[in-house]
C-alpha cells in the first residue's frame, strides 16, 4: 500500500498537508494556553517524579514530532527498514541518555541539598 502511494501522491497530498498543519497548530495553541494558565490541579498532581502538566507537554510534543516526521518528512512512505533504522535508533538511544542523565542530576541535587550548597553566603 505504502509503496505505490508514491504514484498516488502525485495527484495531490495538499489536503493531508493542510490537515497536519491544522493538527500541529491546535496542539501548539493548547500548549501555550496550558503554559499560561498553568491549571493548579495539573501542576500539583505528581506522576512519576514530574507534574502532570509537564507530562502533558512532553506527550503533546511527541505527538507533534510524530506528525512532522510521518507527514512532512514522508516517513510514512518509506520502507519499513529505513523507518526503523532511523526511528528506533533515535528512540532507544535518547531514552537511555535521558534516563541516565536525569537520574544522575537528581542524585547530585540530593547531595547539594544535604549541606553542600549554602544560600546564606
Amino acid at each position: 500500500m505504502a509503496h505505490d502511494a508514491s504514484t498516488h501522491e502525485h495527484q495531490s497530498a495538499t489536503k493531508r498537508i493542510w490537515t497536519v498543519f491544522a493538527i500541529l497548530s491546535i496542539i501548539t495553541i493548547v500548549e501555550v494556553i496550558l503554559g499560561i494558565i498553568k491549571p493548579a490541579s495539573l501542576v500539583e498532581t505528581s506522576f512519576i517524579y514530574m507534574s502532570l502538566l509537564n507530562w502533558i507537554f512532553i506527550v503533546l510534543t511527541i505527538v507533534k514530532a510524530y506528525y512532522i516526521t510521518w507527514a512532512f518528512m514522508h516517513m510514512e512512505h518509506e520502507t519499513k527498514g529505513l523507518r526503523r533504522s532511523v526511528v528506533w535508533t533515535v528512540i532507544f538511544l535518547i531514552s537511555y541518555l535521558v534516563f541516565i542523565l536525569l537520574t544522575e542530576g537528581d542524585y547530585i541535587y540530593e547531595v547539594y541539598k544535604n549541606g553542600y550548597v549554602s544560600w546564606n553566603f
Binding site: T14, T28, F57, I68, E78, I94, I108
Partner: protein, 327 residues
C-alpha cells in the same frame, strides 16, 4: 575449473542481498536521513544535558515565564510565551510551505515549487530575526539583580511581590567610579568590559532607605520564588551582596544559575545556526529551481532532500520550545 554456484536459499529475499536496494531510497535521501539521525542525537544530548543541570538545581531554576515575557511594541507588559508561540508558528508554517514545494516538485510544477521555496526562505529569515530579538532582550535583561559572595542571584521585589528594577533601588552616590584596566590595575584580573549602571554600594545604600524586599532563587512548594522578610533582606544585602548583575552573559546572568544562560545561548544558538544553514541551502536550491536544473533532471528530489533538513530544524524547535519555555 567450473565456477561454483552456491545457493543460500535467500534468493529473492530482501535480506539476501542482490541487486535490489533494500531501503528503496536513493543514496542521497538515505544519507540525509542518517545525517538527521546523528544530528538528532546531538541535539538530544544537549537537551538531556540541560535536563541534567536543571535536575541538579531543581528547586532554584529560573521560571521561564518571568524570563521570556517580551513582545514587540508592547513594552513593559507581561506577555509570557506569546512571542515564542509566534516563532513556533512561523517555523511550522515555513515547514508547510516547504512540504508544499516538495509536493509541487512531485507534480513537476516549476512555478509552484519556486513560489513555495521563496515563502519558505522568507519564513526562515523571519524566524532568525525573531531569535535575534529574543537574544537581545535576554542579554540586555530587564530588572537587574545582585550576586552574593556565594555566586547566588538575588532579586528585588516590592511589598506586593512585584519585581523592582535596580534603578528604583539604587541611590546615586557622589564619587568617581573607575573602570578596571589591566594596564593600570591588577594584571592577572581581566578587564571590566563595562561598569554596571550602579555600584554595589549604591544598591546597598538605596536598599537600606527603601522598604523593598529580597527575592532568592529558591522555589517554594507552589513553585514561586521565596521572598525574604525585611530583616532577612537587610541582612542578606549587607552581609552577602557582592556585585551588581545586569542582563546575561556566559559568566553570570540576572535570572539565576550561570548554566541557565549558558544552555540558552548554546542550544538556541546551535539551533539558530541550523536554521541559518537551512536558509542558505534553501536559497541555493531556490536558484537551481529557477534556472531549471531539476526540470532538466526530470526530478525534483533535491528539493525533497533539503526539505528533510528543513523539517528536521522545525522538529528540533518543537523540542526546544517544550523544554526551554513550557516544562
Amino acid at each position: 575449473m567450473e565456477a561454483t554456484v552456491v545457493r543460500t536459499g535467500t534468493e529473492g529475499k530482501t535480506w539476501g542481498g542482490g541487486s535490489k536496494s533494500p531501503l528503496k531510497a536513493s543514496y542521497g535521501k538515505m544519507m540525509m536521513w542518517y545525517f538527521i539521525t546523528s544530528d538528532a542525537l546531538t541535539f538530544s544530548a544537549f537537551l538531556a544535558a540541560y535536563g541534567f543541570s536543571r535536575y541538579k538545581f531543581i528547586d532554584s531554576w529560573p521560571i521561564a515565564d518571568e524570563v521570556f515575557n517580551h513582545f514587540p511594541f508592547m513594552h513593559g507588559t507581561d506577555a509570557p510565551m506569546y512571542y515564542v508561540a509566534l516563532m513556533t508558528f512561523i517555523l511550522i508554517f515555513s515547514s508547510v510551505t516547504m512540504v508544499l514545494a516538495v509536493d509541487a516538485g512531485h507534480q513537476m510544477k516549476k512555478s509552484k515549487v519556486t513560489l513555495y521555496m521563496f515563502l519558505t526562505i522568507i519564513g526562515g529569515a523571519i524566524f532568525l530575526g525573531s531569535q535575534a530579538w529574543e537574544w537581545k532582550n535576554f542579554i540586555k535583561g530587564e530588572y537587574g539583580a545582585v550576586e552574593t559572595n556565594g555566586g547566588q542571584i538575588i532579586q528585588f521585589v516590592d511589598a506586593e511581590g512585584e519585581r523592582v528594577a535596580l534603578e528604583k533601588v539604587a541611590k546615586v552616590l557622589p564619587g568617581d567610579r573607575v573602570e578596571h584596566e589591566r594596564k593600570n590595575g591588577l594584571w592577572y584580573v581581566t578587564d571590566d568590559s563595562s561598569l554596571p549602571t550602579y555600584s554595589i554600594d549604591e544598591v546597598k545604600e538605596g536598599f537600606k532607605e527603601s522598604n523593598y524586599l529580597v527575592r532568592t532563587q529558591m522555589l517554594d512548594e507552589n513553585g514561586a520564588k521565596t521572598i525574604l522578610s525585611r530583616e532577612e533582606s537587610l541582612a542578606m544585602i549587607n552581609d552577602n551582596a557582592a556585585r551588581v548583575v545586569e542582563g546575561a552573559n556566559l559568566t553570570r546572568n540576572e535570572y539565576g544559575p550561570p548554566l541557565f544562560a549558558d544552555f540558552f545561548f548554546f542550544i538556541t544558538g546551535f539551533h539558530g545556526f541550523h536554521v541559518f544553514t537551512g536558509v542558505l541551502i534553501n536559497i541555493i536550491i531556490f536558484f537551481n529551481v529557477i534556472i531549471g536544473t531539476y526540470e532538466k533532471r526530470k526530478s525534483y528530489e533535491m528539493v525533497e532532500k533539503v526539505g528533510l533538513y528543513w523539517h528536521f530544524v522545525d522538529l528540533v524547535w518543537v523540542f526546544v520550545f517544550t523544554f526551554f519555555y513550557l516544562v
